[in-house]
């Protein structure tokens, strides 16, 4: 009996109970992270190509993706189960679908031919097949052996180089044309005007003369560039492969449209790893292709980080100011208690409400006014009167403001009273005391607020969807053209990217791994931003640790 009561006193069962709570939460985190890691990181691994021959004579070449057991009822109402395998067979331009489920019973033979190729293309997804011959100009080389692989690689390199050159030439031509285009816009604006004054008429004639002069000036250069462009283009049209699919259909593939060629069945682990690294790099550093289901997510990474930074710049000063006033200056009483309660409650308002507020207040009211005051020349086309990275960041700043205020207040409350009194006793004003003693000491608390704000802000999607995030942004909000920081531009965001790729994509099955990878990336970015803030906080903590003797 005595032992029992001691056991009760110690409360072992309750300790176990509390530990269970912790274990459950940890298990969830580990589970989520494992799923995302496995599914996300596996995406880049070049899997082997399997050639499947069916009993009815059909043949496919593709990557094996999944297996499942299917339950069906036959015509007599008997339950039958059969094993199915999912293959990614690619070749969307030929088959229409990237994926196919095949029943194990139908399959006659499965093998991994060494000379099977995987082509990642700029359009229409992957192509899986065999090379029949290579065309360069008017010469044709039949595919024979290893030697031919090198030739294909060289031709591919050449085609890709040409493709880049074409892009550069197009850019050059655009740049060359810019002054002319600007002139033509001014001219057409003047021409559209009715009842021109004589001055305007003069101006028009002057501009037209100028237009002629500019045209004459740039014409030789223009001719030269476009000729070069044309020749390279033609050359690239004649570098192509003749391919064979598993069911012996022929297909012509321009090498300029190919991102990457590899033979997974013939590659060893090292070679595969190299492809993995290259694909991963492409994912992080390149722009998306094919309505975001292929290519990289760089613009989304950039947009996310930049939005979080803009949000931090907006929310931290406001949060600090509000918290200082609440704690150091405001007369404590019923009103301040009400305000504190309201601030805390604001943290619980659904984010979509903030989004709608952002749309109504920032985009329409504020943005609309800015447009009328400063950008009236481009109206009715809006500049700031439409969603953009500035408005999205400010909306999120508003959303995270309560978090920053509360954390800063905690930081301020943690500043030892003795230090504050000491500063006042030395004849400093309240403001000097706040600036020199309270603020530096409260910095760790403020940074805690920032960390929470980043975590919350980076993951929000709903308010962004109506204040400036788009599926595909034509240009980054930060670039080399004046004024460098384009706060009015729409932007891409990893959170929205996940939603878009996973649920709005025309090819959901192919995009699924991309969802995991993007989620992984988003988590990594949030963690990195947090680690940065935690690192700064710990350094400050060390500096401002309070003495104990």
């Amino acid at each position: 009996m005595k032992k029992m009561s001691y056991f009760k006193k110690k409360g072992d069962s309750y300790i176990i109970f509390t530990a269970t709570g912790l274990i459950l939460s940890l298990a969830m985190v580990v589970l989520i992270m494992t799923i995302i890691l496995v599914k996300g990181l596996g995406f880049f691994w070049p899997s082997d190509l399997v050639q499947v021959k069916l009993q009815d004579g059909k043949a496919y070449l593709g990557e094996q993706w999944a297996e499942s057991t299917k339950h069906e009822f036959d015509t007599d109402g008997n339950r039958i189960t059969h094993e199915e395998i999912q293959f990614k067979i690619g070749n969307r331009d030929l088959y229409g679908l990237d994926f196919i489920w095949l029943s194990r019973n139908e399959i006659e033979k499965m093998e991994k031919p060494k000379n099977a190729f995987s082509f990642e293309r700029l359009g229409y997804g992957n192509f899986y097949g065999f090379i029949k011959s290579l065309n360069i100009g008017d010469k044709q080389f039949n595919y024979l052996d290893e030697q031919s692989n090198n030739a294909v690689e060289a031709a591919h390199d050449k085609a890709v180089k040409n493709r880049h050159e074409i892009k550069e030439l197009e850019n050059d031509i655009n740049k060359l044309n810019t002054p002319l285009v600007n002139l033509q816009r001014e001219i057409s604006l003047l021409q559209l005007k009715e009842n021109k004054t004589p001055e305007e008429q003069n101006e028009l004639e002057k501009l037209q003369k100028e237009e002629q002069a500019v045209t004459d000036k740039i014409n030789p250069e223009y001719q030269k560039l476009s000729k070069k462009l044309e020749s390279i283009y033609l050359e690239n049209q004649n570098i192509f492969l003749n391919l064979l699919t598993a069911d012996n259909r022929e297909k012509k593939l321009l090498l300029a449209d190919v991102v990457r060629i590899y033979r997974p069945n013939d590659f060893n682990v090292l070679e595969k790893s190299w492809i993995y690294v290259k694909k991963f790099y492409e994912f992080v550093a390149d722009e998306p292709r094919e309505s975001n289901t292929e290519g990289g997510v760089f613009p989304a990474i950039f947009g996310t980080v930049m939005m979080v930074l803009l949000m931090s710049i907006a929310v931290v000063p406001f949060g600090i100011l509000a918290a200082i006033y609440l704690n150091e200056y405001a007369k404590q009483g019923a009103i301040i208690r009400m305000i504190r309660l309201s601030v805390n409650n604001l943290a619980g308002v659904p984010s979509i409400v903030y989004g709608i507020f952002g749309l109504g207040f920032f985009v329409y009211a504020l943005g609309g006014t800015i447009d009328q005051l400063f950008f009236s020349s481009t109206l009715p086309e809006p500049t700031f009167g439409t969603g953009g990275i500035l408005w999205a960041s400010l909306t999120l700043a508003l959303l995270t403001l309560p978090v920053v205020i509360v954390a800063t207040e905690e930081g301020i409350l943690a500043v030892p009273r003795a230090n504050k009194e000491g500063a006042l006793a030395l004849g400093s004003t309240r403001w000097q005391m706040v600036r020199k003693i309270v603020l530096p000491n409260a910095m760790p608390g403020i940074l805690t607020g920032l960390i929470l704000a980043i975590s919350r802000g980076a993951g929000e999607v709903a308010p962004l969807m109506i204040t400036g995030v788009v599926k595909l942004a034509p240009s980054l909000p930060l670039d080399a053209s004046f004024p460098f920081l384009h706060l009015d531009r729409k932007f891409m965001h990893l959170g929205f990217h996940i939603y878009d790729v996973g649920f709005q994509s025309p090819n959901v099955e192919a995009a699924k791994p991309m969802v995991y990878t993007t989620a992984l990336l988003l988590i990594v970015i949030v963690v990195l931003l947090n680690i940065l803030a935690i690192y700064i906080r710990n350094r400050l903590r060390k500096k401002y640790k309070t003495s104990v003797f």
């Binding site: 003795a418 009194e421 006793a425 004849g427 003693i437």
Partner: protein, 270 residues
Amino acid sequence: MVNMKTTLRDNNLDTKVSAKTIIETIDLDFYYVPEEKALKTVNLRIPEKKVTAFIGPSGCGKSTLLRCFNRMNDLIIGSYIEGSVLIEGRNIYDKQVRLEELRNKVGMVFQKSNPFPMSIWENVAFGPKVNGVSSKSELDDIVESALKQADLWREVNDRMDQSALDLSGGQQQRLCIARTLANKPSIILMDEPASALDPISTGKIEETIEELKKEYTIVIVTHNMQQAARVSDYTAFMMVGEMVEFDQTNTIFTNPKKKLTEEYITGRFG
């Protein structure tokens, strides 16, 4: 309780205070909460350039009285005073008085040392800086002389950039004294400055006080009667918010006029 109200003021006048009075309280009442006096009609004249000690049992109001002299009590929400406190003949509770100027002139050392989380140099230079001294060389001079006065210079002059929090407890307290001195105050209030220190550090602080009284008026609150006897020229004995007796330290400790004082000093209560 003995009714002393009528006699206290005369008592003080009778005392042979040869020095000039620098702090004078006239019928000072202090309330933390309305209707509840923490100080009851305190009348007191503190002489210039002497050490005056406040003694008395816990909660008797000695710290409260001390904090009235630099208006530190203003920070306590809901508290207020009645009566007046004159410093150099001027009522410091006047509306025109600037708190910063007052606290500049009346420095304070707290019970628990409270160095700021900054370097030693920054700590001492804090006061002059907030009061508008900006030249580095001038600040250097001020810091050096303040640290020398507080008898800390020898120990820290080679590590002025180190954090003040790395100093020992006694050094930290002397740093706080130096910090106060850097403002060149005329009065230094000390609220049990040695109560958290070991005997050796306490001895050092007492030596410092001995040095300082040549130039400054020092008012010290202490729990330790031996300390009061050692360092002070005048002693005030307080009980439950009332000033029981104020006289030269010698007189208080050898020949107190009030029975209450005698009982406390001989250790019969408190």
